[in-house]
Amino acid sequence: MNKIKSLDDLRRMKQAVESGIDIREKGDVPEEKIVQIRVAMATCGIAAGARDTMNALIEKVNKDNIHAVITQGGCMGYCYAEPTVEVRVPGKEPVVFGDVDTKKAAEIIDKYVKDGELVEGIIPMNFQSINQ
C-alpha cells in the first residue's frame, strides 16, 4: 500500500476512493447500476444476528446474479430494530430496513431490489447529517 505523504496526496486519494472503489470491485458494471447494501455490524447488530443476515444477502445476491456490493457498517443507532440493513438502489433514496433476518433479507432482494416493491419494517430516517 502506498503511503500518503502529503495533504495533496490525501486529497487525490479521497477523490479516487470516492469515485472508484465499487467500480474496482465490480469490474465493468457501470456504477449507476450497482445496488449498495450495508449491514450494520456493531455488537448489538451482531448479537441480533447481523452476521447471518449478511451471509444470506451475499448468497442471495450471488445466486440471483445481482450487481450489488455488500459491506458492513457500524451501528446506525436503531437498536430496537437490529439487525438493520441499508439498501441503496441506483436513482433512489437509501432505505433502511429493520429486523432483517435471513428470510427478510431474501424478501428485500426479491421484492425491493428486483421490483422496487417496498417491504415491511422500513426504518424512517429521522436525523440530519452534517453533510446535508
Binding site: 500500500m1 502506498n2 503511503k3 500518503i4 505523504k5 502529503s6 495533504l7 496526496d9 490525501l10 486529497r11 486519494m13 479521497k14 476512493v17 470516492e18 472503489i21 450495508r38 450494520a40 456493531a42 455488537t43 448489538c44 451482531i46 459491506t71 458492513q72 457498517g73 457500524g74 451501528c75 446506525m76 443507532g77 436503531y78 437498536c79 430496537y80 430494530a81 438493520t84 441499508e86 438502489v89 433514496e93 429493520g98 428486483k114 421490483d115 422496487g116 416493491e117 417496498l118 417491504v119 415491511e120 419494517g121 422500513i122 426504518i123 424512517p124 429521522n126 436525523f127 440530519q128 447529517s129 452534517i130 453533510n131
Partner: protein
C-alpha cells in the same frame, strides 16, 4: 424495476398502532383496490417515526409528503386526491406549531432537525474496517489541515472557540484542557483516549469505536500535535472485543498509509497509538484511576491537583478525553469553530449522543443538539413510552446521575441544566422509566452498582455507599422508618461533599434526586409500608377474594411456604405471617381471585 409509482408508508410503531394504524393500513389497501390503483401504489408499514404525538402517521414516497393524525376514514381521500390526482390533502399536513405554516415535505419538518449527527456522522455509513471509505468522507483531512495550516496554539484556539466540552461526564472545556497540557513542558507527553465506558446503559463510545474508529485516531493525532505528544493510548474495555478488533485494524491501516507514524503527511510530526485494556472497573473512567490502571496498578484515583495535564501517565503531562469528545474534533477543524458553536445553546455547544433505553419505543443511539428538551427526545425521537404506559422518570448520567420527572421534561438538556436539576450529563445514558418502576428500588439498583464498583480507597464511598444501599434495601423491604429518610439525606450530602473522586462525589445523586422528586413514594414505603408501583415484592399484600375463589386448591399446590389453607371447593385464606410475597398463587389462579395490593 420499480413497478410501483408510489409508496404509502404507515407508521407501525406501538404508539401509532394504539391509534388504529393497523386498521388504517387495511383501509388504505382496500381503497387502492377499490379505486383500481393497487398496481400503482403500495402500502407498507414501517418502524416508528418517533413522532407518536402526531400519530397515526402516513408518509408518501417519492414526494416525501407527511400526513399526521390520519384516521381510517381519511384513507379514501388520500387515495383519491394524492395517489390518483397527485394533490396533497392539506388538512392532514403537519403544521409547524410556531409559525402555523403547513409543511409538505417531511425533510423540512422540525423533528427531522431534532437529531443532528456529528459524532456519529460516519457510524453506519462507512465500513469501519476500510480506511478508504473514511478518507472518502473527508477522513484525515482535518489532521492534514491542522498540520499544514495551524500552529499548535492556533489549533487549540480553534477548539476553544468551538466551545467543545468533554463528553465523558463533567463537561470540562476541551480546548482549555489541551491548552494546560500544551503549556506543561516535558520531554514526553501522552494523549489518552478513555474508551472504558462503564455506565450501565451507555454504549456510544463503543458504537463510535466500532463504527468509526478512524475519527478517534485522527482526533488523537490532532491532540498530539497540539500538546506536543507523539504517543497515544486508547484505554478500552476488554469486554468490547469488536471495538478492540476494529481499532486494531484502523491503527494498522493508518500506519500503512503513513497517517500514523513518523513525518505524518510530510510534516515533522510523529504520532502513534497503542491500545491498553481495562479490566472491568467502573472507577477507571476517572482519569487518575485510568492512568494508574494503565501503569499496571490498582485503578484507584488520586487527589487532583496534580491533574493529568501536569503529571499523568508515568508522571508525564497527559491529556485524557473520551471517545465521543475525540469524535467531534475533526469536524470542528473542517467546518470551523463558528459552525460548531452555532449548534447547541449558550453554554453547551454542539451535540450530545444519548443511549436511549428503558421503557421507550425507539431504543437506540441518538445524537441531538444541546438544548433540546427531554420531551422532544422522549416523545419525538424515542417514540414515546412503551406499551402506552405513563411516563414516570428519566434517568440520565448513569450511576452518577439522577432521575428527572415530568416537571423537567421541558428543560433544555445541557451540562449545566442537568446539574442544576440534580442529575448530570454523564456519558449519556438515558433510561426511561414508566409507572411500573419503583423509585426507591431504582435508587437501590444504582447504589448496588456503586457499592460494587467503589474502589474502597476513601471511607465515605467505601462505607457510606454501602450504608446507603443497606438503608434503601431496608426501605424496599418495608422495614424503613422516617428517620431513615433523614439519614439518607444527610449521608448522601456528606458522601458527595467528602469523597475522593467523581464516583463518590456523584454516587448519591440517584438517591438525592429520587428523594427530591419522589418523596411521596419514599414516604409510602416507610409509613404505610406500601410500594405505589407494586415493584417491591416484600411490600405486596396478597389476599383471596372469597367471592371469586372456587376452592380449586391450585394456589395451595404452588405455595412454597404453605401459607394458603382452605377446604376443597370452599374459599381459601392466605396467612400473612407465612406469605413470602412470591406471587406464585397470583400467577396460578385462573379465576382472578387473588388480590394484590
Amino acid at each position: 424495476m420499480g413497478q410501483y409509482k408510489m409508496h404509502l408508508l404507515v407508521c407501525g410503531g406501538t404508539g401509532c398502532r394504539a391509534s388504529e394504524s393497523a386498521r388504517l393500513v387495511d383501509v388504505l389497501g382496500e381503497e387502492l383496490v377499490k379505486q383500481g390503483l393497487e398496481k400503482d401504489a403500495q402500502v407498507v408499514t414501517t418502524g416508528c417515526f418517533g413522532f407518536c404525538e402526531k400519530g397515526p402517521i402516513v408518509k408518501i414516497i417519492p414526494d416525501n409528503t407527511f400526513y399526521v393524525h390520519v384516521m381510517p376514514e381519511d384513507a379514501a381521500e388520500i387515495v383519491a386526491e394524492h395517489v390518483l390526482k397527485g394533490r396533497r390533502v392539506a388538512r392532514l399536513l403537519y403544521q409547524d406549531p410556531n409559525s402555523g405554516e403547513t409543511i409538505e415535505d417531511s425533510k423540512h419538518m422540525g423533528f427531522y432537525q431534532k437529531q443532528l449527527r456529528i459524532a456519529l456522522r460516519n457510524c453506519g455509513f462507512i465500513d469501519p474496517e476500510c480506511i478508504d471509505e473514511y478518507i472518502a468522507r473527508d477522513g484525515y483531512a482535518a489532521l492534514g489541515k491542522v498540520l499544514t495550516e495551524y500552529t499548535p496554539e492556533q489549533a487549540i484556539d480553534i477548539l476553544k472557540k468551538s466551545g467543545l466540552r468533554g463528553r465523558g461526564g463533567a463537561g470540562f472545556p476541551t480546548g482549555i484542557k489541551w491548552e494546560i497540557a500544551a503549556k506543561n513542558a516535558a520531554d514526553q507527553k501522552y494523549v489518552i483516549c478513555n474508551a472504558d465506558e462503564g455506565d450501565p446503559g451507555a454504549f456510544m463510545d463503543r458504537s463510535i469505536s466500532e463504527g468509526d474508529p478512524h475519527s478517534v485516531l485522527e482526533a488523537m493525532a490532532i491532540n498530539g500535535y497540539c500538546i506536543g505528544a507523539n504517543k497515544g493510548f486508547i484505554y478500552i474495555r476488554a469486554e468490547y472485543p469488536l471495538a478492540i478488533q476494529r481499532l486494531e485494524i484502523a491503527i494498522r491501516q493508518a500506519r500503512e498509509y503513513g497517517l500514523l507514524g513518523t513525518g505524518i503527511l510530510g510534516s515533522d510530526f510523529d504520532f502513534d497509538v497503542e491500545l491498553r485494556y481495562g479490566a472491568g472497573a467502573f472507577v477507571c473512567g476517572e482519569e487518575t484511576a485510568l492512568i494508574h490502571s494503565m501503569e499496571g496498578e490498582r485503578g484507584e484515583p488520586t487527589v487532583k491537583p496534580p491533574f493529568p495535564a501536569e503529571s499523568g501517565y508515568l508522571g508525564k503531562p497527559s491529556n485524557v478525553n473520551n471517545v465521543e469528545t475525540f469524535a467531534n474534533v475533526p469536524v470542528i477543524y473542517l467546518k470551523g469553530p463558528e459552525w460548531f458553536a452555532s449548534i447547541g445553546n449558550e453554554r453547551s455547544k454542539g451535540t450530545k449522543v444519548f443511549a436511549l433505553a428503558g421503557k421507550i419505543n425507539n431504543v437506540g443511539l441518538i445524537e441531538v443538539p444541546m438544548g433540546i428538551t427531554l420531551r422532544e427526545v422522549i416523545y419525538e425521537i424515542g417514540g414515546g413510552i412503551k406499551d402506552g404506559k405513563k411516563f414516570k422518570a428519566v434517568q440520565t448520567g448513569g450511576p452518577s446521575g439522577g432521575c428527572l420527572t415530568e416537571k423537567h421534561l421541558d428543560t433544555p438538556i445541557d451540562f449545566d441544566n442537568l446539574l442544576a436539576s440534580g442529575s448530570m450529563m454523564g456519558s449519556g445514558g438515558m433510561i426511561v422509566m414508566d409507572e411500573d418502576d419503583c423509585m426507591p428500588a431504582v435508587a437501590k439498583y444504582y447504589l448496588e452498582f456503586t457499592v460494587e464498583e467503589s474502589c474502597g480507597k476513601c471511607a465515605p464511598c467505601r462505607v457510606g455507599n454501602k450504608r446507603l444501599h443497606e438503608t434503601l434495601e431496608k426501605i424496599c423491604e418495608g422495614k424503613g422508618t422516617e428517620a431513615d429518610l433523614d439519614y439518607l439525606r444527610n449521608l448522601s450530602s456528606v458522601i458527595k461533599d467528602t469523597s475522593l473522586c467523581g464516583l463518590g462525589q456523584t454516587s448519591p445523586n440517584p438517591v438525592l434526586s429520587t428523594l427530591d422528586n419522589f418523596w411521596d413514594e419514599y414516604v409510602a414505603h416507610v409509613t404505610t409500608r406500601t410500594c405505589p408501583s407494586g415493584r417491591c415484592k416484600a411490600l405486596l399484600h396478597y389476599s383471596i377474594d372469597t367471592e371469586k375463589c372456587t376452592g380449586c386448591t391450585a394456589c395451595v399446590r404452588v405455595c412454597s411456604t404453605a401459607a394458603i389453607t382452605g377446604e376443597k371447593r370452599q374459599p381459601h385464606v392466605i396467612h400473612q405471617d407465612k406469605c413470602i410475597h412470591c406471587g406464585a398463587c397470583f400467577d396460578k389462579c385462573k379465576f382472578a381471585a387473588i388480590n394484590v395490593q
